[in-house]
Symmetry: C2
Subunit: 456 residues, 2 copies
């Protein structure tokens, strides 16, 4: 049996062990945005450090970062072979609304073919499958190529440390390409590789009408209500065609070539599937574009949260002093995330009534990216999918943002291969997040083949 | 010294005692809308029952109601004299936002001429001043007229029990007129009597876009965002002239006679004062009307609260599953509060996109009222103000709602005299609610004179 076949056989034998360990990792509530979970985030980092040490890495470091450390590891025992920089993150999103979870978000309950937990799909399932692939390879001898790891704990809060970390470790992170495991496929039996990611610019806007909450009967209708003004401002951020009205928002948007539109139209997509995945009653979006184009190739603006006034039980006749919203935009090539702040400011300057004070704060931003679909690394991934799933992957544009892909492209000149096994309906960032277990196991095998293909 | 002069002298002597007792009742957090404060609400009721017993009432009952009991009391020892039904409430609004209070909302801290506490002005200060007036009268002999008390503990949750309570106690509540202490004056040295109150209809609207929160990068811009739709719907509830767009909203509104507009224009009002009271940067409202007219004689619609999506610390890239708002209207004669529910429903049916599910729930409603400015009781109040403040009160229309006034007018044929000493800038329902103490003491004297004037 060849080295790679033995590793795959080992992966099949160890499924129960891998699943048990996966559940342990899912039980750690490594929520990076909430201060009270800082200890849990650290516990998750320590667990990965232990794994990496067991995998024979010759260097494993916890490097300081703004809030949660970055894990760096390396094994460089294959001179002459390519070096792959493996990216992942070990933090997860908050769990609210908690009441909408069927089982506890860190109970890692298995129902049918799925395991349910915050982070199951985004992305403990992916990074852990990659580590288990390494384990199966390492048991059979040295790795087929050189390996470096960059695993951060701040991805879900916008990777505030990544930019400067890369800048100050350009030599350390040198590689031939990036394997980014924070990725997914199209459907359980439809492997896919994402070659385009959207950028993100995320803001908090606060409006203040009065110094304190007032009685709505005594003052309502005589002064501005900041909640009403906020609604008017948000309503005005889209026109009747679903286009974003921020001044200059579309100026740098790269038009979608007719040829690529035709390719996108060939993807195995149906409106009914999309509606089911979105758990919505229907579709909506920018006029003149298909759903695939809207989420993959067009910029969008969303209200992520809104609050103001009395939100408790019962009725309180209050005229709110202030109201606020979290608003984010997703950007496509060649939009600059840094431009959106100014566009939003210009919009508010033009439309906010003078009786209301407003502030705007950027919470996070990151650029988008487009990758070469014909690189050596991309071909190794295509082949690995074929070896495990029995078919070649489709190529997709992704609506989400993985800022590290653009950062590594800009700073180190490295293209990323987005190779992961999440599914679009895994419910990431929402309640009942899940990972499809058959593909967790096939994921381990695909990562084995991928590294073997790279090593030649 | 006459009976009434002796009572007034007693009030002046006992100021410190009255203030100490006032602080005791302000320390009781009788928040009617919050279940966890039910015991405190009951404690406040018990305290008033004790007071009324000490005042020689021949009957003092705690009568069951939906959530908090109604206090009924009577003293009918003046045959041939008029009977006054004294109305008040002993519950208060919630205290949030707690962080915006300078001192604890139940600490009853005195700073300068003001005492700060939730309920200080609305309306423990008023009902307690009335009880202290009774105390000073009772110490000198029998009351000058017959007295009944109706003090509820559910006013701040929309008086859900009052309607049926009045219906089932029509004989018990018989009187010649109502003294409603839930009232205020225009400015510290400008006594005022309100002769018109607005009605209220208060709703909660919830929109649902998807079954659960979704990832805003993966699904944003491809399905409806209920927070955005809610903003669009709320924005559309006013037109560019500040008029409410609910279908039929103005159909029954009684036009303001030109003569009354001239009277209202004579009131001691200034834009600068109003802006200062509202702690706002400027005025806004329905075109074609003055501020006094907007809040007193025109119907309005306000957002009292709004919420949806991620409202915590940091950034979460979520497409909210749902969003909700509390929306209330203030109504003038002859609008029917019951009509607004249908108008809001019709508005949503016409404007909510089909991809979003919505529900609407009425939380509370109550009618408005207009009173005769030339009744005997009104004249007794005018005279009492003159005796204590040295000047006649102005007559005002009020933007707030006191549903009990309309109920007692409809069911018992009783006009109310709105006699209380709150000030428009007391901050009721908001943080740092306060009562101006010099007028708390003058209030006690005015209530003494008023009852003496009624008794002749």
């Amino acid at each position: 049996m060849s080295y790679v076949d033995a590793a795959v056989a080992r992966a099949k034998e160890r499924r129960q062990k891998h699943l048990d360990e996966f559940r342990e990792v899912l039980a750690i509530p490594s929520i990076s945005t909430l201060t009270e979970h800082a200890g849990d985030v650290r516990r998750m980092a320590d667990r990965l450090v232990d794994e990496l040490k067991r995998l024979g890495m010759t260097r494993v470091d916890l490097m300081p970062a703004a809030r949660h450390p970055i894990i760096y590891a390396e094994w460089l025992g294959a001179p002459g072979k390519p070096t792959v920089l493996i990216y992942g993150h070990y933090d997860v999103q908050p769990v609210d609304p908690l009441a909408e979870w069927t089982s506890g978000p860190f109970a890692a309950e298995i129902r049918g073919d799925y395991i349910f937990a915050r982070g199951a799909s985004d992305m403990k399932g992916q990074i852990f499958a990659q580590l288990k692939a390494m384990e199966c390879l390492f048991a059979g001898g040295p790795y087929p190529c050189n390996v470096k790891y960059l695993i951060e704990g701040e991805e879900e809060i916008g990777s505030p440390s990544l930019d400067s970390f890369i800048d100050s470790h350009l030599d350390l992170l040198k590689a031939d390409f990036v394997l980014n495991c924070d990725a997914g496929i199209h459907a359980p039996e439809v492997p896919a590789i994402i070659y385009s990611l959207r950028g993100l610019a995320y803001f908090e806007i606060e409006l203040r009408g009065s110094a304190k909450d007032m009685h709505s009967g005594l003052f309502g209708g005589s002064v501005r209500n900041p909640a009403q003004v906020l609604c008017e401002l948000i309503a005005g951020m889209h026109d009747a065609d679903g286009r974003v009205t921020l001044p200059g928002f579309y100026d740098k948007v790269r038009a979608l070539p007719e040829e690529e539109r035709k390719e996108l139209a060939q993807l195995p997509y149906s409106d009914a599937d999309w509606i089911a995945m979105a758990t919505s009653k229907g579709l909506w979006g920018e006029k003149g574009y298909t759903t695939i184009e809207r989420v993959g190739a067009r910029p969008t603006l969303e209200v992520n949260g809104i609050w103001g006034g009395f939100t408790g039980e019962g009725s309180k006749t209050v005229l709110p002093a202030k109201a606020a919203a979290k608003i984010s935009t997703r950007l496509v090539a060649d939009q600059e995330p840094g431009d959106v702040h100014g566009q939003l400011r210009a919009y508010l300057e033009a439309h906010a009534p003078k009786e209301v004070e407003w502030t705007i704060r950027e919470l996070t931003h990151g650029p988008g990216a487009i990758m070469d679909r014909h690189s050596t690394a991309m071909k190794a991934a295509v082949k690995a999918f074929d070896q495990v799933f029995g078919k070649a992957p489709i190529f997709k544009r992704e609506g989400g943002s993985v800022p590290v892909v653009a950062l590594l492209q800009q700073k180190l000149g490295l293209d990323s291969v987005m190779l992961g096994f999440a599914l679009p309906d895994d419910g990431i960032h929402g309640p009942d997040e899940r990972q499809y277990l058959p593909n967790f196991f096939r994921g381990i095998e695909t990562y084995i083949h991928f590294l073997a293909n790279i090593g030649g």
